[in-house]
């Protein structure tokens, strides 16, 4: 049984969002029944719902948020949050940003841990959680998640850029891939500089990933700019601010006794941070260059 969103009672004081009207969230799953109310938020009102941290979603092209509460006797209430983002790449980005737990096969990418289910499908990012715990609750959360996933009709593409980073054969750390659209978020996952020295913006895409090299974690940052010129400007900005002593070279052993490499390849900028040796950095960089589109 499904209810069309337009049949929901919107909570007083909250604006109706612009969520895709084709999505019909479940009204019941695993014995938890929707209480009939619905909270909707747009980019102006999202701050009311999220405790001072709406920027995460706004950075990924947030469009709308729909929140529903489900109840079951003698069980804690369950919450479903459905975020509609600007694109499927953005939905993937929100998911990737905090990814740390094991997948449970829901949507196009999922994780479940600590009573929190997170997944993405199409343009949507979804979280499901309960205000209590127990085996029945966990089972209910997963059942609810499957129901919500089924209600999202269309799948969407993962960011193409993610396919350009090397895989486990060169030490990619499981669940470490982050797809980023702003320097603020990049800094949260790997601090580079207070200022936006890589000129990241909504038109750029970045992938940050960890690799294990000689039992040490090395960071790979791959950025695609909207144009060759923008990539060139960003590369020069980075070299000037971060590696001013490189003297025209693309590498430097920094104060932590590790290697930082940076190269521009057409509209891409590839940076390796914290490689234990020069050879390790070179190998990771070359493996990345090899995967970039030919002719670039």
């Amino acid at each position: 049984m499904v209810w069309i969103l337009t049949g929901a009672v919107s909570m007083k004081g909250e604006e109706k969002g612009k969520m895709n009207q084709e999505i019909s969230l479940p009204s019941e799953a695993g014995g938890w029944r929707w209480d009939g109310k619905e909270m909707n938020y747009d980019s102006r009102t999202l701050f009311k719902y999220i405790d001072g941290a709406a920027e995460l979603y706004l950075a990924y092209g947030f469009q709308s948020l729909t929140v529903r509460r489900f109840e079951k006797s003698n069980q804690p209430p369950m919450m479903v949050e459905l975020y509609e983002m600007a694109s499927s790449e953005d939905a993937y980005g929100v998911f990737s940003f905090e990814h740390q737990d094991e997948a449970v096969g829901i949507g196009q990418g999922s994780e479940f841990g600590g009573g929190l289910l997170r997944f993405w499908k199409g343009k949507c990012f979804v979280s499901v959680y309960a205000e209590g715990e127990g085996a029945e609750v966990e089972s209910g959360i997963l059942t609810m998640g499957r129901g919500v996933s089924n209600s999202i009709p269309a799948a969407g593409a993962e960011p193409i850029l993610v396919g350009f980073i090397p895989g486990k054969n060169v030490g990619l750390v499981d669940k470490s891939v982050r797809y980023l659209r702003s320097h603020v978020l990049l800094n949260q996952r790997y601090f580079i500089a207070h200022q936006n020295i890589l000129n990241l913006n909504r038109k750029t895409e970045a992938v940050l990933a960890q690799y294990l090299q000689d039992k040490q974690k090395t960071q790979l940052l791959l950025i695609r700019y909207a144009s060759l010129k923008e990539a060139g400007d960003a590369y020069q900005s980075f070299m000037k601010a971060y590696l001013p002593e490189a003297g025209g070279r693309d590498r430097l052993r920094t104060e932590d006794r590790k290697w930082t490499f940076a190269r521009q390849r057409s509209e891409f900028v590839v940076i390796v941070f914290g490689a234990p040796t020069e050879a390790d950095a070179e190998a990771l960089l070359k493996a990345t260059e090899k995967k970039l589109p030919r002719g670039r």
Partner: protein, 295 residues
């Protein structure tokens, strides 16, 4: 110095303990001052949480009373409360209503009870969080109590007392730069400046780790059964952040990084001169239950 770009390499250039200080003092956040000290009380009680972490109100009241008595070094708790408030005060209790880990109602009630006992009229006492800018008590307040749970936070590293005054500004998103370093600025605005009599961190069930904007995970919440109390919000926050860090190290075997480092605490000290952030200059008085006290 104003335009200096602070990079990751600046952190490599100094030892780990001094790295953030070097960054903070390098121009973006102001100069170092003299070295005052601060006093903070940590009090715990093994029985303050019952089944399913139900707060035991009477025990919590006794913990709070004992904390303020020791903080102000009075013979009786009410002597301390009466030093905080006079009967003519209008008192706003700035709480925190985040639905996953709110300030316990029992703690709000315990505070209000003692303010009433100090002679303040009930109509002149308000408890609020996100509505403070529209609450007449807070708009006319002569005194504030700052109370909230201790937890990690997506943008500020830790959600503690300094962060709790974000509700006093209409544009909270404007305070998120540089790990929420500008949070201390809020404390200089007339609506709050000089009014805070006591800061209370509820460490009954703190959250020591978290990911992302709306994150709550029971794996990272533990029954610590404590309160952290002081008149210096920076010192109270420094103790709280230190406790969370110590718990993370014990739990993960390393100090697993937060979404951001809680640099706003040091900024509140070094730039806004709101208190003491250096643990070496904080006198921590530990009372009550000491099992797994961690700090």
């Amino acid at each position: 110095m104003k335009d200096k770009i602070i990079t990751r390499r600046d952190f490599f250039r100094v030892t780990a303990g001094a790295a953030m200080a070097a960054t903070v003092e390098s121009g973006i956040l102001g100069e170092v001052r003299a070295e005052p000290t601060a006093k903070v009380v940590l009090i715990r009680h093994a029985e303050v949480l019952g089944r399913q972490d139900k707060v035991q109100g009477e025990i919590l009241q006794s913990m709070l009373d004992e904390a303020v008595k020791n903080l102000l070094e009075t013979n009786q708790p009410m002597e301390a409360w009466k030093r905080f408030f006079k009967s003519s005060d209008v008192v706003g209790i700035k709480s925190n209503e985040w639905h996953r880990l709110p300030t316990p109602k029992e703690l709000e009630a315990a505070i209000k009870r003692r303010i009433l006992n100090a002679g303040v009229a009930e109509k002149n006492i308000g408890i609020d969080d996100r509505g403070v800018l529209n609450n007449p008590v807070f708009l006319n307040a002569t005194a504030l109590v700052n109370v909230r749970p201790l937890r990690t936070h997506h943008w500020s590293g830790v959600g503690t007392c300094l962060k709790n005054y974000i509700s006093f500004v209409p544009d909270p998103w404007s305070y998120h730069d540089e790990g929420c370093s500008p949070l201390g600025k809020i404390w200089t605005y007339p609506i709050v400046k000089g009014k805070t009599r006591v800061n209370i961190l509820s460490a009954l069930t703190p959250q020591f780790y978290g990911r992302g904007a709306h994150f709550f995970d029971r794996r990272y919440v533990w029954s610590y059964k404590g309160l952290i109390v002081g008149t210096d919000p920076v010192a109270v926050d420094a103790v709280g952040a230190h406790l969370l860090q110590t718990k993370r190290i014990g739990f993960f075997g390393e100090d697993r990084a937060l979404d951001v480092a809680p640099v706003h605490i040091m900024a509140a000290d070094k730039k806004y001169h709101l208190g003491v952030s250096d643990m070496r200059r904080i006198q921590l008085i530990k009372l009550g239950w000491m099992e797994e006290v961690l700090i």
